[in-house]
Amino acid sequence: MTDAAASPPSSTTASAPRPWRPRHVVAREWARANLFDGPVNTALTLVTVAFLTWFVPIALRWLIVDAVGFHGDVATCRTAGGACWAFLRVKGDVILTGTYPFDERWRAQVAALVTLVTVGVALFWRGGFLGLAALFLGACLIDLVFLSGGVFGLEPIDATRWNGLPLVLFLSVFTMAAALPVGVALALARKSDALVIRLVAIGWIEAIRGIPMVAVLFAGVFILPLLMPPGLHLSSMISIFVVLTIFHAAYFAEDVRSGLDDFDKGQIEAAHSLGLGRWRTMRLVVLPQALRTALPALTNSIIGGYKDTSLVAIVGLFDLMATSRLATADVEWQAYSLEANIVVGVFYLVTCVAVSERFRRLARIAGADGDGRS
């Protein structure tokens, strides 16, 4: 018993077999080592336990015990003391697809599903770069056909009505897919010997990284249409797509540059002495390794970019938060915005954790270390 605090509790399965001890003794030793190790730790444990015994019952009561289930109605919600999950049954469509025409909702849902499946396939992609590019391009076109219609007998639907989940997924996934090659090119340009090329890259990267994303989005809405020849109308959807690509490319470029900075110059010389030309050295030797090193930083930027796509709500596009507000604009269901926020939050949590875990695993497989976010 005296050696309990000194030996790590998890190593009981290690090579030297410990004598069998009753379970409550093991539990007591674990608690002593992990919860009551000295006066400070004991105090911390007591404070934490006090907080949890206050908070957890309140949360559980609101979420489950006093809540109205999925099949309830608004009258029971009024009198209930907890969450109103019936809200999701009634208003789920509005949160998912917003003002997309009711009878054509299935098209928006298919588009969202196609984007999700594309990301899933891309995360486990084993083919080459060109195949991946073709995958994203194809998925983007399929999404556009479903969302906008006008072909194959589908009713045309204006871009201002592409709302909610399909919009968020479309904008985040395809702008980042387009931005990645641009970002790699920018990173290489920033390390170029040629002064003009370098200056252009530095100007792009630093100007974009210096201003907030909201300001970049406003530039897309206000400035980009002014740059077009008179008579050419640019919808805000296209403007936002373009500026988001420009925005993400600048951040990706800095991540890739961190990979290039760590690169061993001797390998380039070795590749040259093997007779590889400049482009093949770049494609076969430099980039694969640099991207591998940059993977944790890229993961960060990708997750951040995905979360920040919600900011398009500020310039008037309807992301999931804007559609949640739309759903609670109905006087009858006004009081249930927290329920909508929780569902949207869980969606973001699950997708972010899934993507970052997959990237972390890829980084581990590739041999790059680091925890993924810095």
Binding site: L35, N41, T45, V200, I211, F222, L226, S273, M321, S374
Partner: protein, 405 residues
């Protein structure tokens, strides 16, 4: 897009012979120069074309690029201001008001986010199982939610859930919370504000001199004299003396309900409070992860060695772990601070008049997006550059002497 790759692998110069001079006009250099000239020309052409389009498009709506409008009357009100402002003031003035609001939000968020982040980061490396895992849950949860979602959820909860001013909640310490915002007790110093500033200045100088003496003494003899205790005692004594002799008068202005409104104290609007809290807890999760990474990066052997030398756990953290962790922490923390400052622009979502929000209103009123966007870009560039300079200075300062990186 040429990468910096030598076309010919550099050959070590043979002993005694000078290395061959690179030829002035290799094929590669000529090609590179041609590409650069082409790119420069294309850029100039694109710039000209853009300029042409902008002027034609603006002319179609009857305006031309001109910063003169900045002196004209703005005519719209802002949600809150730190300097006097009425709708009769100029556009330049309202942009300045927005800038001050942005800076106030950024500074207060920076403080709260850093303190919470530091605490949670240290907690996530705690030996206490409960504390450690709660901290991890906090980090993982907040890091994977969009900041706009946190802001809107908190804002709507505050607007809907908080009581009317008449029935404001009283928080510990005398602060009041109602659906019009947070009312904090605020210190007022009618007499002796100048003297207080002098006392604080002397205290900072004296503490830094004492810290130097402590270090020199420790370097010479190995004995560490107390640093924090005399410093705190000195300040307490000075303040106590000043208050007792009446040279400085200090009293707290407490918020209180008078009639239909709350008077006294400092008033933070609902918008500001929601922004401040939500951005702080969001960035605290990122900062906590950075702090955790820094603490974990310190070799375990260092702690064991310090413990073997007889240092108590608090001192091990303060003298051995944190000084080494801080060097790992500072660069990503600096990035995080820059992000935080930029992220204050989501203020627009709840109608707090920050710089970008004021710009948006001004653009809608004047249709001068080019000029206003330029102003905002330059302001953010200036903020970023000065923050980066301050962080570089701090990074250089926190480095141990003799190490360049």
């Amino acid at each position: 897009m040429a990468a910096r790759i030598p076309a010919v692998p550099p050959v070590e110069a043979a002993a005694g012979r000078p290395p061959p001079k690179p030829a002035p006009f290799t094929r590669r250099k000529i090609r590179s120069a041609a590409w650069q000239t082409a790119l420069a020309l294309a850029l100039v052409a694109a710039g000209y074309f853009a300029h042409l389009n902008i002027t034609r498009n603006l002319a179609a709506s009857g305006v031309a690029i001109d910063f003169g409008f900045l002196t004209r009357e703005a005519g719209f009100d802002v949600s809150e201001q730190l300097v006097a402002y009425t709708p009769k003031d100029s556009y330049a003035r309202v942009l300045f008001v927005g800038l001050l609001n942005t800076l106030l939000l950024a500074a207060t968020t920076l403080l709260l986010a850093t303190s919470v982040g530091l605490a949670v980061g240290v907690a996530s490396t705690s030996r206490n199982w409960l504390v450690r895992n709660l901290a991890r849950i906090y980090i993982e949860l907040l890091r994977n939610l969009p900041k706009l979602l946190i802001l809107l959820a908190l804002y709507i909860a505050m607007v809907r859930g908080l009581p009317l001013v008449r029935a404001a909640w009283t928080l510990p310490g005398g602060a009041l919370l109602a659906n019009r915002g947070l009312y904090l007790p605020w210190p007022e110093m009618p007499v002796g504000a100048g003297l207080t500033a002098v006392v604080v200045g002397v205290w900072i100088a004296a503490t830094s001199v004492w810290a130097r003496m402590v270090k020199r003494h420790q370097d010479a003899t190995g004995v560490r004299r107390p640093l924090a205790l005399p410093s705190v005692l000195g300040l307490t004594a000075a303040i106590g003396l000043a208050l007792a002799t009446g040279l400085v008068e200090l009293h707290w202005s407490m918020p209180a309900l008078t009639g239909f409104n709350i008077t006294g104290g400092a008033h933070l609007t609902v918008q500001f409070t929601a922004l401040w809290v939500s951005l702080s807890i969001y960035h605290a999760s990122q900062i906590a992860e950075i702090v955790r990474g820094g603490i974990v990066s310190v070799d375990k052997g260092q702690r064991e060695a310090a413990a073997a030398l007889g240092l108590r756990p608090g001192r091990v953290l303060r003298l051995i772990v944190l000084p080494q962790a801080i060097r790992v922490i500072v660069p990503p923390l600096g990035n995080q601070y820059l992000n935080l400052i930029k992220n204050t622009s989501i203020a627009l979502a709840v109608g707090y008049s920050d710089l970008v929000g004021v710009m948006n209103t001004a653009v809608n009123q004047t249709f001068r997006p080019v000029e206003l966007m330029l102003v905002v870009m330059l302001v953010f560039l200036a903020i970023n550059l000065s923050t980066a300079a301050a962080l570089n200075w701090f990074a250089a300062w926190s480095r141990p002497p003799g190490k360049t990186r």
